[in-house]
Symmetry: C5
Subunit: 360 residues, 5 copies
Amino acid sequence: MISLSRPSALKAGLPPGTPIYTGGQTETEINISIVDYDKEKATFLTSQKIEDCALYKDKSTVTWINIDGLHHVNLVEKLCSCFELHPLTVEDILNTTQRPKVDVFDDYVYLVLRMHHHNEETGEINSEQVSFVLGKTFLLTFQETAGDSFDSVRIRIKQDKGRIRKMGTDYLAYVLMDSIVDNYFTVLEKVGEDMEVLEDELVEKPSTETMQTIHFMKREMILLRKSIWPLRDMVSSLRRDEIPQISPDISMFLNDLYDHTIQVMDTIETYRDMISGMLDIYLSSISNRMNEIMKVLTLFAAIFIPLTFIAGIYGMNFNAEKSPLNMPELGWYYGYPFALGLMAVVGVGMLIYFKTRKWF
Amino acid sequence: MISLSRPSALKAGLPPGTPIYTGGQTETEINISIVDYDKEKATFLTSQKIEDCALYKDKSTVTWINIDGLHHVNLVEKLCSCFELHPLTVEDILNTTQRPKVDVFDDYVYLVLRMHHHNEETGEINSEQVSFVLGKTFLLTFQETAGDSFDSVRIRIKQDKGRIRKMGTDYLAYVLMDSIVDNYFTVLEKVGEDMEVLEDELVEKPSTETMQTIHFMKREMILLRKSIWPLRDMVSSLRRDEIPQISPDISMFLNDLYDHTIQVMDTIETYRDMISGMLDIYLSSISNRMNEIMKVLTLFAAIFIPLTFIAGIYGMNFNAEKSPLNMPELGWYYGYPFALGLMAVVGVGMLIYFKTRKWF
Amino acid sequence: MISLSRPSALKAGLPPGTPIYTGGQTETEINISIVDYDKEKATFLTSQKIEDCALYKDKSTVTWINIDGLHHVNLVEKLCSCFELHPLTVEDILNTTQRPKVDVFDDYVYLVLRMHHHNEETGEINSEQVSFVLGKTFLLTFQETAGDSFDSVRIRIKQDKGRIRKMGTDYLAYVLMDSIVDNYFTVLEKVGEDMEVLEDELVEKPSTETMQTIHFMKREMILLRKSIWPLRDMVSSLRRDEIPQISPDISMFLNDLYDHTIQVMDTIETYRDMISGMLDIYLSSISNRMNEIMKVLTLFAAIFIPLTFIAGIYGMNFNAEKSPLNMPELGWYYGYPFALGLMAVVGVGMLIYFKTRKWF
Amino acid sequence: MISLSRPSALKAGLPPGTPIYTGGQTETEINISIVDYDKEKATFLTSQKIEDCALYKDKSTVTWINIDGLHHVNLVEKLCSCFELHPLTVEDILNTTQRPKVDVFDDYVYLVLRMHHHNEETGEINSEQVSFVLGKTFLLTFQETAGDSFDSVRIRIKQDKGRIRKMGTDYLAYVLMDSIVDNYFTVLEKVGEDMEVLEDELVEKPSTETMQTIHFMKREMILLRKSIWPLRDMVSSLRRDEIPQISPDISMFLNDLYDHTIQVMDTIETYRDMISGMLDIYLSSISNRMNEIMKVLTLFAAIFIPLTFIAGIYGMNFNAEKSPLNMPELGWYYGYPFALGLMAVVGVGMLIYFKTRKWF
Amino acid sequence: MISLSRPSALKAGLPPGTPIYTGGQTETEINISIVDYDKEKATFLTSQKIEDCALYKDKSTVTWINIDGLHHVNLVEKLCSCFELHPLTVEDILNTTQRPKVDVFDDYVYLVLRMHHHNEETGEINSEQVSFVLGKTFLLTFQETAGDSFDSVRIRIKQDKGRIRKMGTDYLAYVLMDSIVDNYFTVLEKVGEDMEVLEDELVEKPSTETMQTIHFMKREMILLRKSIWPLRDMVSSLRRDEIPQISPDISMFLNDLYDHTIQVMDTIETYRDMISGMLDIYLSSISNRMNEIMKVLTLFAAIFIPLTFIAGIYGMNFNAEKSPLNMPELGWYYGYPFALGLMAVVGVGMLIYFKTRKWF
C-alpha cells in the first residue's frame, strides 16, 4: 500500500526552517553520485564525502549530484550550506511529506515531486520523495533510499545519446522528471492489469477478498491522486512562470511533460470511476447470489409446508369408532395411496405454479 | 468495448522524443494516399513509397498525404524527417494513447484526436488515434489502420463540391475534423438506440445480463468522455490562439466545430446521467421482484403454520380412557369435520387479515 | 417525455453547411406570417410564398417574419438566400438539435433556443427549436411546427401596447425570447404540481408506478436542464459582447431576461435535488414496508414453532405400558388441559417477550 | 416548510414590465411607515396614504419608507411612479419569487433579498421577499406582510444609538440588510437545535417519523440554500461595483456583511453534509435493528426445527409387533426420558454452537 | 467532538459593531502576557491590568500582547480602544464563531483563525478562535482560554534562537500562525492513528459502535474542513495583497505557510475519502455477516423440513387392517430402519447438493 504520508507532526513547536528528517529511518550509508559533463566529456564519481561536491559548485560544466539517504541529516545539511540553500529548502528536502511544488529562489529553483514504485512482492505501491535543486550549472537531487529510475539517464549521458550532453541543467532536470512521470505509467499499467484480473474475478467468483481488494485499490487511487494532482500545477507553473534557471529552449519539452502528467491524471480519474463501478457490480452480484439462494430455499420450504400439513391431518387421532364422520379416509381401501397422491398433486401443482410465475 | 488506452509504459526509461509505436501490431502494408489540388485541378495518388511524398512538400498547391498503418515505424519516421517534424511530434504520432491536443511549432501545427467506430458485429466502440500535421501547403494525416470516414471528403474534392477546392490546408483540416466529430454523433446515436432497448428490457425482464450491459455502457461512456473532453479544449485553443497556419477566414467554421464538440459532450453527460438512473431502476426493480417473491412465500408459510399446529394438537396421544378431559374432541361425532372446519376458518381468516392490511 | 434530442447522425459525411432538416417530418403546409410596423402603423400578413418576404428586406420599418414548418427545406433555403444568410446559419436553422447559442455575423445575429410545452394529454413536455435571425431592420423566426407562445406579442403590436412599437428589432427579439423563457415557468409550475401530487402518493401508497414516475421526472429534469443550461451563456453573451445589432438601450431588459434564465436554472436544480430526495424516501419507505411485513410474519412463525413442537412431543408413541416413565402425562387426568395450557403459556409468554423488546 | 417559491407562471404571455403580484393574497390593509431623520432630529410616521410619501422625495434628509402588503398593487404602483421607478423594478418588487440581486439604475439601486422566519408553532421556516430601492436621499423597502426584524433599527434611529443618524441611506440599507442576515443565524440556530434533538432520536429510537423529519430538513436546507446562495453574489457585487449611491465609507461594513453571508452559506453546507450523514445513520440503524430481529427469530426457528423433527420420528407408527427392529425405543423403559434428553442435548448443543460463532 | 460553531444568533437585532462575547462562559481570570523585544533584549511580563499594555503601544520595539479569556468583555474592549481598533474588529474578536479571514485597516491588519487541540481524555477535537491584530510595532493575540501552542515561540524569543529577534511583528505573526498550522498536523496525525485502529476493527469485529465512530469521524472532518478551508484563502490573500504591515521579506515564509495549509487541506480531503470508503466497507461487511448467518440457518431449515415431512408421513394413522395398501411399510420387518435410512439419504443428498452449488 502507498503509506499514507503522515502529516509532519514531529515538527510542531519547532521554529520554521528547522531541518528534521521525517521519513523512515534506514541504516544504510549515504550515497553520493556525481556526474559532471559538457559536450566534450563526462565524469562519473561515487563518493561518501560531501567535500567532493563542493569542488563542482562553480564549474561551468553541468554537474549532477544525486544523494540517496536523507537520514544522514548532518551530511545533507552540510551539502546544502555548501550550495548556500535557504533554510526553508533544507527543511523541505528533509521533510519527506511534501506536496509536489516549485519554489523559485534567487540562485536556484527548488522542485519536489514523488516517485512511485510497484513492489512486485507485496503488490503494493511504494512512494518516495525526490527533491531537485536546479542551479545554473548544477543540479542536486535528493532521494530517500537508493534505487531509482535514473539509470537510463546516466547511460544516456555516458553514451552521449540524444541531445542531453549538448543541453544545460534545466534539460537534465526535465529528463529526470520525465523519467519519473514515465514511471507513473508503469505503475498505472500494473494497476490496470490488476483491475482486469479483478473484473474477471467479480464475474466468476466474488468473495469478501474481492471487496477488500476493490477497497484497497480505491484507496491506492486516492493516495496516488493526492500525490500526482499537485504535480500538474507544478509543471504548469514551470511552463508559465518565467524562471531564469529554465531557458525557453526547453519549453516545448515542458509542454510535453505537462501533457504526460495530464494523461496520468486522466488515467487515474478513469480508474477511480471504474473502481467505483466495480464496487457497484460487486455489491449487486453478491446480493443477487444471496437472493438466489434464499429464493430457492424458500421455494423449497414453501413446497414442503403444505405436504407436511397433509401428513399432519392424517396423523390426527379422531376416533373412527365413535362416528363414521371421523376420518373415514383412514379406513378406505385406497386411503394411503390417496393421501400420497394428494401430496404429489399439491407438490407438483405448486412447482408448476412457481415455474409459471418465473420464480425459479 | 473501447479498449482502455493503456498508459505508454513501454516508453519508461527511454529518452524523450524516442519514436516507439504503442498501438496494436497489425501485419498490413503501409498505405499512403496523396491528394493534391488547387482551384483548377486535383490529383489522386496511392503509393507505398515515402519518396513520392517528398515531391509535394514545397508545391504551392494543397497537398494532403494520408498514412494508414503506424506500425511501419521506419517509414513513418522517414516521412516525418522529410517534412522536418520535431522529434516530439514523431513520438506523439506513434504513441497512440495521446489526449487530443494542439502543439504549435514554427513550421506546422500538430493536432491529435481520436476517431470512434461502432463495431456492428461485437457491439463495441473501437477507437483509433488520428494525427494531423498542418503546414502552409501540406496536411499530413496519420491513422492506425485503414478504413476511415474521410471518403466523403475525397469525393467532395474530386467533384469540386462546396468551397473545399477554393480554400487552403486549414479548411481541409477543419473538414476532416468535422467529419470525425460528425462520426461521434453516429456512435452516440447507436448508443442511444441501445439505451432505449435496454430501458424496455429493464421494465419487462431485468436480469443479471441487464446489469452487466448497464455497467458496460457506463464504462463506455467513461472512456468516450475521457477521449472527447480534451477535444473541446483543443478546438477552443484553435479558435482562440492566433496560429499562423490557420487563417481567420475559417474561424466561423471552427466556431461551428466547437459547437458540435460541446453538443457531443452534452449528449455524453446526459447519457451518463441516464445510465446512472437506469442502474437505480434496475437495482430497485430487482429488489422489488425479490421482495414480492419472498412476501408471497412467507405469507404462504404463515398460513400453513397454524394449520399444521392444529393438526399437531389432534395428533397428540392423550389417553381419553383415563380421563374424560383428555381430548374429548377425538370422540365427538362431528370431531373430524370440526377440526377441518377450524382449519378452514383459521386459514381463510388469516387470508382476509393479510388482504385487509394490503400485504398481497 | 422530452424526446432526447438525437445527435444529428444524418449529417455525418456531408460537407459542412449542407442544409438538412433533422426534425420530425410533418405533412403540414409551410406557414409564413409577416408583421411590419413602426411607430405609426402595423401591417399583418399571412402567406405561403417566400417572394412576399423579399419585399420587406430593405424597408426601414421593423419587419418580423415567422416561419412555421422547417420540413419545407427548399422554401426555407430560398428565404435564407434572399436574406443572404451564411450556409452555416441555414444548416443550423434546419438541424433542430442545436444547443442554444449566439452566432454574430456581419449583417445579422443568429440566435437559437428551445421552446417547451407541457402536453396536457400525455403529461409529457414537448420541445421545439426556435431560431432567430436578427438584422438591423428585420427579424426572422423559424419554428418546427405551428402553435407558439408569440400570440400575445402580436396582440401587443396590433394594439400598440407598451413600448414595443417604439423600439427596434432587437427589442422585438428580446420580447419574443422573454415570452419563451416565461413559458419555462409555466412548464416548471406544472412539474411542481406533479411533484406535490407525487409526494403525497409517496407517503400514502408508494408503488412501482411511483418509482417509474420519479424516474421519469428525473429524466425530464436532466433533459430540461440540458436545453436550458446553455441558454444562460447565450443571454450572458448577448449582454456582454458588443453586438452592433443590439442597441445599448435594451441592455436593462437583457439583464432582466438573464435573471429569469438564472431563476429557471435554480428551480430546475432545486427540483433535481428534491426528486433525488423523493427517490431516497421511496426506496426507504418501500423497504420499511417490506420489513414490517417480514417482521410480523416471522414473529408469527416464531410463536407457532414451539407450540407445534409441544404438540409433536405429545404425539410421540412411547409405550406407556412398557414403562411408567413413558409419557405419563398422556394418562394424567388433566393431561390434555395441561398440554393446552402449556402451549397457551408459552405462546403468550413469547408475545410478551417480543412486545417487551419492541419487536412489533 | 419554506414554501417552494413557485415560478411566476402567471406572467407568461404578458409584456415585460407588467406589474403583477405573485405572492399569497392577504386581506390586510397596506401599511406605510415613514422614518425621516438627520443628525439633529428624527420623525416617525405611519400612514395608509401614498401621498404622504411624495412629500419626502426630494428632502435632503434620510427618508426611509417601508411598505407592508404588496397585494395592494395599485398603491404600490402609485408609489413607484411617484419615485419614478423603472417598470422592470416595479415588476420585480411585485413578483415575489425573485432571486437576490442588485440592479443599478441611473437614479437608484434596486436590491432584493429574502427574509426567513422560524415559525414557532408549525416548526416551519417561512420566507418573504424584501425589496430595497436605494436613492441618494430615500430608501424604500417593500415587504409582503407586516412583521419584520427591523424594529431594533427603528429604536436605534429613535434613540440615536451608534452611528446610524450620522450616516446616509446607504448605511441604513446596510443596517437593514445586516439585520436580515443576522436573522438567518437565528433561523439556523433553531435548525441546529432541531438537528441535535434528531440525532439523539436517531440513536435512541429511530422511526419512520425520524426519516420524514430528516427528509424535511434536507428539503428546508435545499430551499434555504437556494435563496441564500445568490445573496453572496449580490453583496459581493455591492462591494465590487462602483455604485454611485453607495459611498466608499461603508465598504468596510459591506465586507463585514459579506463575511456574514459566507458564514451563513458555510453553516448551511455543513448542515447539509450532516443531514446526509444522519440519513446514512438512520438507514443503517434501521437495517441493523431489522437484522437483529430477523437473526434472533431465525436462530429461534433453527433450534426448534430439529427438535420437532425428533418428536416427529417418535410419532411414527411403525408396528413394533411385526418386527423387533421397528422403533424399539418406544418400548424401552427409559424411552421417553431418552427422547426428551436427546432433544435437550440437541437444543443446548445448537445454542452453544451459535454462541461460539457469535451469532447472537 | 468539535463543537459545531453555532451561528451567532445572540447578535440578531443589535447594531453592527456591538461587542458581544459569543463563546463559552468560563470563570477564570483574564490573563495578559506581554513580550517586548528587539535585537538587544527581550522583556517578559504577565499582568491582569490593561494599563500595562498601553505603555508599549508606541514603543519602536516589537511588542506582543497575548490575552487569554475573552469573557472579560470590558477589559478586552478597553484594550481595543487603547489600541484604537475599529468597532467591527472588536466585534469580530469577541464573536468566537468567525471564519478565518484577513481585514486590512489603515493602522493594522486583523487576522482570525482557529486553533485545534486533540483532547486526550475525551478523544474529541476542541477548537478555539485566535485573533491577531498586527500593527507596525505591536501584535495583539486574543485567545478564548489559557493554554496554547505558543510556548515554544516564547522560548525561542527568550533564547534568541533563529531569526525571530531580528525580525519585525509580521515575522512574529507568521511564526505564531505557523505553530497553529503545525498543530493541525498533530491533530490530523491523531485522527490518522484513530483511523488505522478503526480499520483493523472493521475487518475483525464490526459493531454498531464502529458505525458510530465512523460517523463521528466523518463529522469531525466536516467541521475541521469548514474551519480550515477559508484559512487557505486567508494565507493566500496575505501573500497576494500588498499589505503595508507585512514586509516583502517574509513572503517566502508565507509561501511556506501556504504550502502547509494546502497540505492540511489535502490530508483532510484524503481522510474524508477514506472515511467514506470505510463506511462502504462497514455496511458491506455487516450485510455480508448477516447474509452468512441467514444462509446457514436457512440451509439448516431446508434440510430438516423434508425429513420432518417423512416422519409426518409415517405418523399418519391409516388403518392397515382395512386394506393391505394402507401404509404397509409400518408392518415391514425393516420398516423403521428403512424410514431412518430414507431420512439419512435425503439429508445427506441435500447437503451434497448444496455443497455442489457452493451454497456454504
